[in-house]
């Protein structure tokens, strides 16, 4: 194990006893694809021309998606926070996003790049790149400088989940499931506490984006717990 990395088999998440364990099938993969895609979009920079940023649509879609996830997940905080937003007011959305995640006098208040939050620097970034290469995930040149941006990490998991939903054979399926679990544990869940800690000190910057990050933190923990449980029986033995 690379130094400083979380041990994936013992990721520090506790499964909510009320959470039903859904079947791990193509539908669960599709649902999770959607959830990761939506979180990725919600945490993409609204300055980026590539992002279609209809905020209420995104929140609504995510709310719809919670009903099809293989575990229960509540998005009401985000839905409430979104009510304060006028979708047309792109200026407000941009101000709140950039003020929280992109600009600041001592770096952004809540950086979304892993290397600004964790301390083991390039060791983790190298592994992210190795994951990307292994799974044929090549970034467009304009985003290459920030491979550890949370929105990009989420998109990567989205692609793995998407491939899982269409996997043709058990071998590929297994690869994709194991990779998702390891990647989420080692490269998202491990530094989310740092993000939450910063958020707690800067929550006033944006109640909406604060709610999104908080929801994501819960989602990642629940998803990881679900992945661990749904993998343990079928996969751990197999490998």
């Amino acid at each position: 194990m690379a130094p400083g990395m979380a041990n994936t088999s013992h990721a520090p998440v506790v499964l909510n006893p009320l959470t039903p364990i859904g079947l791990r099938d193509a539908d669960s993969a599709r649902a999770r694809t959607l959830a990761y895609a939506l979180f990725s979009n919600l945490l993409a920079s609204p300055f980026d021309a590539k992002v279609s940023y209809a905020l209420h649509d995104l929140v609504q879609q995510l709310a719809d998606t919670t009903h099809v996830l293989p575990f229960t997940f509540d998005l009401s905080d985000v839905e409430d926070a979104a009510k304060a937003f006028d979708d047309a007011d792109m200026g407000l959305i941009r101000r709140q996003y950039s003020g929280l995640f992109e600009v600041g006098s001592d770096g952004p208040p809540v950086p979304l790049r892993a290397e600004l939050v964790r301390t083991n620097e390039s060791v983790a970034k190298e592994e992210i790149i190795r994951f990307y290469e292994h799974f044929n995930y090549a970034l467009n040149p304009s985003f290459q400088w920030a491979p550890d941006h949370l929105s990009i990490l989420l998109e990567f998991v989205q692609t793995l989940a998407h491939q899982e939903s269409a996997a043709a054979d058990a071998r590929a399926l297994l690869s994709l499931q194991l990779a998702q679990r390891d990647f989420v544990a080692r490269h998202i869940a491990d530094w989310m506490p740092g993000v939450m800690d910063r958020l707690s000190r800067n929550a006033q910057q944006s109640s909406f984006f604060g709610a999104v990050v908080t929801a994501l933190n819960r989602f990642i923990r629940a998803d990881l717990a679900w992945q661990n449980q749904s993998l343990d029986a079928s996969v751990e033995g197999a490998r």
Partner: protein
């Protein structure tokens, strides 16, 4: 949701654009494993390979320009490694330059991704200094900045807009050329920071009419005795320090002279520690020893210096042609100086003097000679000569110097310097015996109010020993490239129309610095500084660019609010009064913090440029290892965007062209054309075109394409065969070397190395020869505050890097003698409050016996953002208003404002302060 609905919903949603159109990934089949994945260890089975290895360095003015290979994969810089492949000095008996590097450079691949990076254009949304920002687009920022630019330019003239550059871009020659071009086109004022940071060796300029004296570092190895004076190369010149130690092992005496025990002193052959600010007394007592011992090089000083020149005893002025004949009086033959020829026992015109024009810019001088031929000038004696004023007594500069030096005998200066006479004599004798001797001087000498006299004394030591103009000898400041290529680029198609002003006087005018002088140093001094400066402007020795006020400031790679002397006052009275502040920088610091717009600039590995550094015989290339991070752009592009917005808005607002008075010349300026002019009507498309222009037009640069140069990374310059810049085809200044070698007149009033300055202001202040002046002190404040460049940062860059901070105390610290600390109840590690009449700052106490009592020492560069209350040492430095009268003198041959050559330095050292315990942090002290 029932099962069918669920499936339908998922099928539709996962087929939607949201899922199928990836935002970041290029490949749409992303996510498919190339090989099976079982555990993360599988990822490490494939060998890590690089996509590209690029050439680069760190384009800050560390003076290193070390060649690095920069390793890139997937658009990320992962690491750098020293490019060791230097070719060895052609003169093979000197050590090699490679590999070069330091810990900052080897940290840059991480630092460039650090949280301090400015990645997007930002606009202030709170009050100035409140730290509230919003990200804006380049378009919005450029448009709003352009509108203000046009308003100020129309209402007050472009001179009310400053565009300062700093160490982050000024050594990147192509980038600096871009700024020079835009400043020339638009007429904005460029406050120059050579004098503005107190780095201008004015004493050297007074002596030889040049400031660019310095050779490659291998010259150190060629010296027989190096005085490392007010310099600390073991810390500040890490890639080159080995030359000193190799020289030492080769038999050279390396003698460190500094009040504090530096890492350089630790490794030197000998350490001399005068009290702070008494170095001129020490230097003059060494001069005295050499004169007493008669170990001076008489032929050299007779030919190369003004020491044999005759001086009227009645007036203390040089004996001139105008004293001697009516023809001279009519100024037909100005500046004729005389010697006493011992062969004929007569007054004779000194060769190479007597020009019809003033000495500056006279091409004629190249064809004249100072060779003495059959003359044998007397150095000592007194004679009577007939003049238009009747018979008068004359003597020589040398004779006057002897008497003057006697006032600085080692016995007399001991009480001033604290250095025992036997030590002074020992060093002076070693130096006189060395052939040649070298003085490796730091810029600290420029930062004392009377540092010019120290430099004049240093030059005198070098002249007496015949060391200036010899390989391995002379004074060593940094040389600079001949400006040919850069100026050609700045002026192409438009001609010269630039306003460059010393940042010292600019700040004096705009920062109410006269009030500060009065508050700290008293009315008399304040009035005198002010009167002389005003007289200088009135007499047109100095330009008056300040008259239209200062309304808008661009700070490009310039952290001015960090390092201005009296920084707190400057910030409050000048900087924060600006109607608009635009900071263009790669990293956050106190200047961007107070800005209205902060524009992101590419860091070293994200841009192309060409670097000249006279300490090595190589040019170094920066070759865009990766594109700029976020929305950063290089300096060329930043000005491109802003000039484009200015011209576009000028057209939309129908702003007409105007005539602008620059130094009495009427210059036509057309904001609608600024952008086209900047790009030479589209012929220059990027910084790479600028670099090629510089390569093609700079003397001494091997002619090749930038692409070829970038492949190599380092390219040896022309005329670099020996360890001195003596060749006419080198890219660096060799004027003084040529004067010595070819016996050509110097660019001084006397055409010689000039040690006697008979300008009335110099005579008034008793500065016709270098003399010791006690450093200025503030009554009731006992601690002399000293600073030096740091090991772990270059100016404010890298100072905040967390790994480099781990190599220090993790926060700004100040060195204190244990006795001073004990007297105030301070223990090592405590937080102390340092204060002067101007202000206070808080800093970690670092107790050290290497620091003299009554002295504080701090490595500089710490950004105010790293301190409590956002105040660094600038809060206590009281010297920003000290304009030395003789440094604004004019109408005297080479003396008079000359850009990057003669201007008053910002001084930083002539003040005292005190300190007290602020917070007990030392655990042992608690028990």
């Amino acid at each position: 949701m029932n099962a069918i609905d669920r499936r339908a919903f998922l099928a539709a949603a996962t087929a939607s654009a949201l899922v199928t159109n990836l935002k970041y990934a290029a490949a749409q089949d992303a996510g498919k494993p190339a090989q099976a994945y079982r555990r993360f260890e599988d990822l490490y089975r494939n060998k890590w390979t690089w996509d590209r290895v690029s050439r680069g360095t760190h384009g800050t003015n560390c003076a290193g320009t070390c060649a690095f290979n920069v390793f890139i994969k997937n658009g990320v810089v992962w690491r750098e490694e020293q490019q060791a492949m230097y070719d060895g000095h052609a003169d093979s008996d000197t050590p090699d330059y490679g590999p070069r590097g330091c810990q900052k450079g080897l940290r840059h691949a991480k630092y460039m991704y650090g949280k301090q990076r400015i990645l997007y254009p930002m606009k202030r949304v709170g009050k100035r200094g409140e730290g509230k920002w919003e990200r804006v687009t380049w378009d919005q920022a450029a448009r709003e900045i352009a509108d203000k630019f046009l308003d100020v330019s129309a209402e007050s003239g472009p001179q009310a807009i400053s565009w300062g550059s700093g160490t982050q871009m000024s050594v990147k020659v192509a980038s600096y050329s871009a700024l020079a071009r835009f400043a020339n086109i638009s007429g904005v004022t460029v406050p120059e920071f050579y004098s503005g940071v107190g780095d201008l060796p004015t004493g050297v300029y007074m002596t030889v009419g040049q400031v660019y004296l310095g050779d490659v570092m291998a010259s150190v190895y060629k010296s027989k005795c190096v005085l490392v004076w007010m310099a600390n190369p073991a810390v500040t010149r890490i890639p080159d320090a080995h030359f000193f130690w190799e020289a030492k092992y080769n038999g050279t005496d390396v003698i460190a002279i500094s009040p504090e025990f530096t890492p350089t002193a630790m490794h030197s052959s000998m350490w001399v520690n005068p009290k702070p600010g008494t170095d001129t007394a020490l230097a003059m007592s060494m001069v005295h020893t050499i004169l007493e011992d008669k170990t001076y090089n008489a032929p050299y000083i007779k030919e190369q210096t003004d020491m044999p020149f005759l001086v009227r005893k009645d007036t203390g002025r040089f004996l001139l042609g105008t004293d001697m004949s009516i023809v001279g009086k009519l100024a037909v033959d100005e500046n004729v100086f005389y010697i006493w020829d011992q062969k004929t026992n007569k007054v004779v015109q000194a060769p190479g003097t007597g020009m019809a024009e003033k000495p500056m810019n006279r091409e004629r001088r190249k064809y004249e000679s100072i060779a003495l031929g059959n003359l044998d000038p007397a150095l000592e004696g007194t004679w009577k000569v007939d003049t238009l004023d009747g018979e008068i007594e004359v003597t020589t500069v040398f004779e006057i110097l002897k008497k003057h030096a006697a006032e600085h005998s080692p016995e007399k200066t001991q009480s001033i310097t604290g250095v025992h006479p036997s030590v002074v004599k020992n060093v002076a004798r070693k130096f006189a015996a060395a052939k040649p001797g070298m003085i490796y001087s730091g810029y600290a000498s420029c930062k004392w109010l009377n540092g010019d006299m120290l430099q004049r004394a240093m030059m005198m030591l070098l002249a007496l020993t015949g060391s200036t103009g010899q390989e391995g000898g002379g004074i060593q400041f940094a040389n600079a490239p001949k400006a040919g290529g850069m100026l050609a680029f700045a002026f192409a198609d438009v001609g010269p129309a630039t306003r460059i002003v010393s940042a010292t006087t600019w700040d004096y005018d705009h920062g109410k610095m006269k009030d500060l002088n009065e508050q700290v140093y008293g009315k008399e001094l304040a009035e005198r500084c002010d009167a002389k400066y005003k007289e200088s402007v009135r007499e047109a020795y100095f330009p008056k660019y300040h008259e239209k006020g200062w309304r808008m400031g661009f700070f490009m790679g310039n952290n001015g609010a960090n390092w201005r002397a009296s920084g707190k006052k400057w910030r409050e009275d000048a900087f924060e009064k600006l109607e608009m502040i635009v900071a263009l920088a790669p990293d956050m610091g106190v200047t961007p913090f107070y800005a209205d717009y902060v524009l992101p600039i590419a860091h070293h590995y994200e841009r192309a440029d060409i670097m000249f550094q006279s300490r090595t015989p190589y040019i170094q290339i920066l070759d865009s290892a990766v594109p700029p991070l976020g929305e950063a752009v290089d300096d060329w592009d930043a000005i491109y965007i802003i000039s484009k917005a200015i011209s576009a808005r000028a057209k939309e607002r129908n702003i007409k062209s105007f005539f602008d008075d620059v130094d009495g010349r009427s210059v036509h300026r057309d904001p609608q054309r600024y952008h086209d002019l900047y790009t030479m009507d589209g012929r220059i498309r990027s910084v790479r075109d600028v670099i090629q222009f510089i390569i093609n037009t700079t003397p001494g640069v091997p002619k090749m394409s930038f692409a070829e140069m970038a492949k190599k990374g380092i390219v040896r310059v022309d005329d670099s065969d020996i360890a001195a810049w003596n060749g006419d085809n080198s890219p660096y200044h060799n004027d003084v070397f040529r004067c010595v070698r070819d016996k050509r007149p110097y660019e001084t009033l006397t055409g010689r190395q000039q040690y006697y300055v008979d300008h009335p202001w110099f005579l008034e202040d008793g500065e016709q020869l270098p003399s010791h002046r006690a450093p200025m002190r503030i009554p009731g404040y006992p601690m002399q505050f000293m600073m030096g460049h740091a090991r772990h940062g270059i100016h404010s860059m890298w100072r905040d890097d967390h790994l480099l901070l781990q190599l220090q105390r993790g926060e700004p610290d100040i060195y204190i003698n244990p006795k001073d600390a004990a007297a105030r109840g301070v223990e090592d590690g405590d937080l102390v409050r340092v204060f002067s009449p101007l202000g206070e700052f808080f800093v970690n106490a670092h107790l050290s016996n290497g620091i003299q009592p009554n002295m504080l020492f701090m490595y500089h560069g710490w950004d105010p953002m790293m301190f409590k209350n956002r105040q660094n040492f600038g809060a206590v430095i009281t010297t920003a208003g000290l304009i030395k009268p003789t440094s604004v003198a004019g109408d005297y041959g080479h003396l008079g404002y000359r850009v990057l050559a003669f201007a008053p330095n910002q001084t930083y050292k002539d003040f005292t302060c005190d300190f007290e315990l602020a917070e007990r942090r030392n655990q042992s002290a608690k028990t």
